[in-house]
């Protein structure tokens, strides 16, 4: 089964003991060739909220640990992966996967490539790599399920935490990239939604040029002469280098949140509750590194695929595809999680971490929702932000 150019041809045959009549579901992981996010120089820095390694690691751990359940149901899930280098390549790979009888696609791709793949096939597609809100809103697709929390969910989680701490005066520092602009808008919307006060939104730039020091120097950016008083500094820095050096360098002794300091994450390896240490330990043993939020998303995607196979052990692929969005999933975050009907996003608790442990969880205590408190994080049904293309 050749699935495109730089295919790894690495098939993990799991579920070996399944009975002869077992339905075998094939899953294709689409990943970015030479992913710049996974360059060693980046993963070594271990910025919070950034991937720590390939999505394959989490997926294969989940499928291995589901073996008993799959065997008992008489089903199996096999995982193959393919690296693509452009949107067109993603589209071709998805089309080929469908012809080759695959049951689902897992995407660890940039948004546009993901959309290209999704539009090339009616197969269900699980997004574990891109948090962009547009994929859940104006560019949403039916059959695309998002396991990774959206940027808005992360911003809402942080805003709720600030409300519960009564740190209401927020100084926002926003980075220069287009992604920063999008994420800064998400942060500002969350600040508004939770009635926090935006003291000021200041652009920053990573620079040592003395002529740009008011853009680059943390003391000048956070000095009270220019911004007045504030309770907390929220930094939006998708790159990570500026944010990492911001805590303890602000003019006022105030906490930093956002992309450094306190960060809203889907997972943190030191999380202690709900059986989380066992999950992190299994991952670390298998992948040889600490489990990041992205790894958790990949792991949960694997769990979802195994659960769908267990729910429809005799097939066909259509029954598998039908079971997938209706699953109730256990991701060791203390509550059962499911996909939102309106945008395919997995509703889930968020962990607020400083990188050393989990300081708080969101939804914060006392933040309520008429149906499910998890839906206080991210886009809710009445907003009707997703009108999916069929």
């Amino acid at each position: 089964m050749i699935v495109l150019g730089r295919a790894f041809g690495l098939a993990l045959a799991l579920g070996l003991c399944a009975s002869a009549h077992a339905a075998a579901f094939k899953v294709l992981l689409l990943q970015r060739a030479d992913d710049p996010e996974l360059e060693r120089s980046r993963t070594e820095r271990a910025y919070l909220g950034h991937p720590g390694g390939p999505a394959f690691d989490g997926l294969s751990v989940a499928l291995q640990e589901a073996q008993f359940e799959l065997d008992a149901a008489g089903a199996s899930v096999t995982l193959e992966r393919s690296a693509v280098d452009a949107a067109q390549a993603a589209r071709d790979a998805a089309g080929r996967a469908q012809k080759a009888g695959f049951a689902a696609i897992v995407s660890d791709l940039p948004g546009d490539w993901l959309l290209a793949a999704a539009d090339a096939t009616p197969l269900p597609l699980l997004n574990v790599g891109d948090a962009a809100d547009r994929l859940r809103e104006r560019d949403c697709r039916a059959r695309v399920l998002h396991v990774l929390p959206s940027e808005r969910m992360r911003a809402d989680a942080l805003a709720q935490t600030l409300v519960s701490r009564r740190w209401s005066q927020v100084l926002l520092l926003s980075g220069p990239s287009a992604l920063d602009a999008e994420r800064s808008a998400a942060a500002q919307a969350a600040i508004k939604r939770y009635a926090l006060k935006l003291v000021q939104n200041k652009p920053f730039k990573l620079s040592a040029d003395p002529r740009e020091r008011d853009l680059a120097n943390p003391l000048l950016l956070t000095g009270t002469v220019s911004v007045g008083s504030y309770d907390v500094v929220w930094v939006v820095d998708s790159d990570g280098e500026f944010a990492r050096a911001l805590p303890y360098r602000t003019a006022l002794p105030r906490p930093v949140v956002g992309d450094a300091g306190l960060v809203a994450l889907a997972w943190q390896a030191q999380f202690e509750r709900f059986g989380a240490p066992q999950v992190s330990r299994r991952f670390a043993k298998s992948a040889g590194r600490a489990m990041t939020a992205h790894d958790w998303a990949a792991w949960l995607a694997g769990k979802a695929l195994a659960a769908a196979a267990t729910a429809a052990p005799k097939g066909p692929a259509a029954a598998f595809a039908k079971a997938l969005p209706a699953l109730e999933l256990d991701g060791s975050k203390g509550t059962s999680m499911s996909f939102r009907a309106w945008d395919g996003q997995l509703r889930q608790p968020m962990l607020l971490s400083d990188g050393q442990g989990v300081i708080a969880m969101a939804p914060a205590d006392g933040v309520l929702h008429p149906k499910n408190n998890l839906d206080t994080l991210g886009a809710d049904a009445p907003e009707k932000l997703c009108k999916p293309k069929p």
Binding site: E65, A66, E69, A72, G275, Q278, D330, S336, N372
Partner: protein
């Protein structure tokens, strides 16, 4: 049903508690303390602590009642504590990350779940030798041995299965699909029904031990609490098998369930994240460990009211009563 009259309030309850009530103590394990808290059952006050191994969780008395076995997750061993002297007499290796265990009816063999290894280990208590290891689904937790000792039941939290394992051969005879994140067991005294709590399904699966078919699924509800916040774990039954007590985790309540009709008769508010439950000998009092409020609630069973909440260790896990 009980050797004393229905009580009307706390003060009254304590004053007439008298001789019918337990004279003994409760040992309470707390995950973050490396020690057991001792509570006097008469005064309901903490009278001391017993140092033990690291991260003590499940505890059980030997059939003769003379020794208390304490499974310690971070010590990979059980601490064997002499009940009379309250001193540790030996350590019994239990393999990696032991969580829960049960003993064979003759008290000679210990069956323990090793969470990290996803195994059930069978251990000879006298020699400390591992007799057999049986691979099971990931994150195995609850363990229960059948009254005749021929079968051991194990839950896997990840696989959502109950494994039926033959103790003689170590073979998994059956995998039974139950609810999400199955945790603990209770067996009706006639041995016919096995009750399994499902932490993430807010339910209890009732299995027939004859053919392992699902007889019923008891969906637990608390008014004003969403299903996702009802996370049942600990369960125990009265000796006559008429009533089950189920701790509802994050719903902060204990449910009294009529076993025959499978209906909840009472809900008692306790501390945060009610975890494991224990009845005293007279079945007059129920002790509930509250994992997230670091305390233990004593419930008067007859009136279905909490009598007292006693601060214990950090992250209390379960209580064992010695009378």
């Amino acid at each position: 049903m009980h050797p004393f009259v229905v009580r009307t309030g706390l003060a009254c309850a304590l004053s007439i508690a008298g001789p019918a009530l337990a004279q003994g103590v409760a040992f309470v394990s707390s995950e973050k303390d490396h020690a057991l808290t001792v509570i006097d059952l008469k005064t309901l006050a903490v009278t001391g602590t017993v140092p033990t191994c690291k991260r003590p969780r499940h505890m059980q008395l030997t059939p003769d009642g003379k020794q208390l076995l304490v499974a310690c997750g971070d010590s990979n061993a059980a601490d064997v504590i002499d009940v009379a002297t309250r001193k540790s007499v030996r350590k019994l290796p239990l393999g990696d990350d032991p969580e829960a265990f049960d003993l064979s009816p003759d008290g000679k063999t210990l069956y323990v779940t090793n969470e990290d290894e996803a195994e059930l280990s069978m251990i000879d208590i006298a020699s400390g030798k591992v007799l057999r290891k049986v691979p099971v689904g990931k994150e195995p937790e609850g363990v229960k041995v059948s009254p005749d000792g021929s079968v051991v039941w194990v839950t896997s939290e990840v696989a959502n299965l109950v494994h039926v394992i033959d103790t003689a051969s170590g073979k998994v005879m059956k995998n039974v699909k139950v609810g999400k994140r199955p945790r603990r067991f209770a067996l009706t005294p006639d041995g016919a029904q096995l009750w399994v709590t499902n932490e993430l399904s807010a339910s209890v699966t009732v299995l027939s031990t004859k053919d392992y078919s699902v007889i019923d699924t008891l969906q637990l509800q608390v008014k004003g609490v969403r299903d996702t916040d009802i996370t049942p774990v600990g369960i125990t039954m009265t000796r006559d098998g008429k009533r089950a007590y189920i701790a509802l985790g994050r719903a902060n309540h204990v449910a009294f369930v009529d076993v025959a009709s499978r209906k909840v008769s009472d809900l008692v508010l306790v501390g945060k994240r009610a975890w494991n439950v224990a009845l005293d000998k007279a079945e007059a009092r129920l002790l509930v460990c509250n994992g997230l409020s670091d305390d233990l609630t004593v419930i008067d069973v007859a009136s279905a009211k909490p009598l007292k909440t006693v601060p214990v260790g950090r992250v209390p896990y379960m209580a064992v009563i010695v009378e």
